[in-house]
């Protein structure tokens, strides 16, 4: 149970998961594990609890420990509760060269939390992550499906206010905002 809800995929998600499992040869349905964990994380409050992982194991017909083994390896899977908006700021060299540290400390001050923490209202979690492949438009951060590039502190402020007023949970699996190319 998370938040009192029964742990069960919505009909749409379950149909998607079943389609996914067909992408692989007979008996290799474990291949769907990572994509399915993304769906689970989005559907069950942004993190993978023990019961959620057990549920995923039952859907894919594998052992719960296999799910945990995989989930605990990858940085995008949260094994603890997180805020509705997980702000992930890139901290690697190209971003660092042009001000990633300033963005991170600005966010720490603005949200009044440290990297790795969640605001008391449960709205924001701040993370610093490794290179997201956006080094030419640095500094940058990711929130849910969206990349926010060429950041300035003003831009960060505007974005945080926007997220706050929307109050929505952001997931990697969301439809991304349209991008100017």
């Amino acid at each position: 149970m998370t938040n009192g809800k029964e742990i069960k995929f919505s009909d749409d998600s379950l149909a998607l998961v079943q389609r996914m499992m067909k992408r692989y040869p007979e008996g290799k349905q474990k291949s769907a594990l990572i994509p399915v964990l993304h769906i689970a994380q989005a559907e069950f409050d942004g993190w993978l609890s023990g019961p959620v992982m057990e549920y995923v194991a039952s859907v894919l017909n594998i052992l719960p420990v296999e799910v945990f083994e995989t989930a605990s390896f990858y940085s995008m899977f949260n094994l603890k509760p997180v805020g509705k908006c997980v702000i992930e700021v890139c901290r690697t060299s190209s971003c660092w060269l042009v001000g990633a540290e300033d963005v991170i400390s600005h966010l720490e001050k603005k949200l009044n939390i440290k990297v790795g923490q969640t605001t008391s209202d449960g709205m924001f979690t701040l993370k610093s992550v490794e290179c997201l492949g956006s080094c030419g438009t640095a500094p940058m951060m990711q929130v849910g499906a969206d990349y926010y590039e060429n950041l300035t502190l003003d831009k960060v402020d505007t974005l945080v206010e926007k997220f706050r007023s929307e109050g929505k949970r952001k997931s990697y699996t969301d439809k991304a905002e349209p991008r100017k190319l």
């Binding site: 990572i34 993304h38 940085s75 690697t92 660092w96 060269l97 080094c135």
Partner: protein, 446 residues
Amino acid sequence: MGKKLLLKNDHISGIQSYEVYRQNGGYASVEKALKTMTPEAVVEEVKKSGLRGRGGAGFPCGMKWSFLAKPEGVARYLVCNADESEPGTFKDRYLMERIPHLLIEGMITASYALGCSNSYIYIRGEYFYVSRILENAIAEAYANGWLGKNIQGTNYSLDLHVQVGAGAYICGEETALLESLEGKRGNPRIKPPFPAIAGLYGCPTVVNNVETIAAVVPIVNEGGDEYAKIGIGKSTGTKLISASGHINKPGVYEIEMGLPVEEFIYSEEYCGGIKGGRKLKAVVAGGSSVPILPANLILKTAAGEPRLMSYESLADGGFATGTMLGSGGFIVMDESTSIVKNLWNFSRFYHHESCGQCSPCREGTGWMEKVLHKILDGHGTIEDIDLLWDIQSKIEGKTICPLGDAAAWPVASAIRHFRSEFEEYVKQPKSIQDVKHYYRLQEAKF
């Protein structure tokens, strides 16, 4: 202006869509291959082209394809490596986001050449929105008869799937990628057996980078010989370079191999010079893993020849005075950059990303990060610089996969070329306050 093969149409509005892509000559390579060539003939063209893998190692693509085992009745797989997580590299995202059909077209033509009936594009999880763009393009390709059963009325059938990862640099290493695609942790496999013999699900498999697969399209269209005329020596064709750091015009540039590095950095057509008119200090030319070079050695080889953007010229002088083209992640640093601090940033990255299987890498990357932090924090000694050198030398070549080498080379090259800067930190400890702040950023895993 240099010749463009991959990005020649990227400015056309709507090129993301099937219709516009097709109107501009899209899917011609599939038509040509499936209707007029045998799979072996396609492999032959790729061999003639001299195309080398664009993922970092530069292994000849045609040769890799010809190693693929073909036991009777066993499935073969083509897996596209769209993990793109080498710091400083963002060309694959650029290509997939802007011209998704070019990758799909390349995948179909390459799958035909290799005799695959199921192929996968493994894309890093952070690129979720790009995976959607690819899925869209794939749906359009199915709808127009380029995927599925009996493609364009021929006997050839192919299904193509996109698989997302979930954040792990190591999954760019091809055997870790295959593990991840099988739903497991991204622990690299011991080689041999190579994927060409036992890859995905134990079947013969080719793993190729996005850009490598995309290059198959112009090679089949224009012929391997034509492709080989572009570039210089054994560095044939064009290369996508991801340029970042202290330059006026960061971005992705398609260059003809052989372009002088100096022109790439300073000409308006490419990086447009160093930001704020400052002086160039150093360049990491091929993604974070390759040796860093100081300005004099990146612009000219030790012999005084102009350094060129090619596999051979960048490697000229070996690791003593040269570097590698790698993935083409070109990170430029101006005179204000602290090489030691940047190195610490890289070392933290490798420590964070080590999969933990091999002790030299798991422990050594952490030690290097700690020693560098100690030096930056003003508590270093001269012996610490030697210790760093010692640690890196004991990681290189002693691990299952090359992540260990990738972690060692930046350390070795920074000490080799910038030792005096390390000594300065040790002799006149400038306590760098914000490093303390930054060090903390290695938050616990969620």
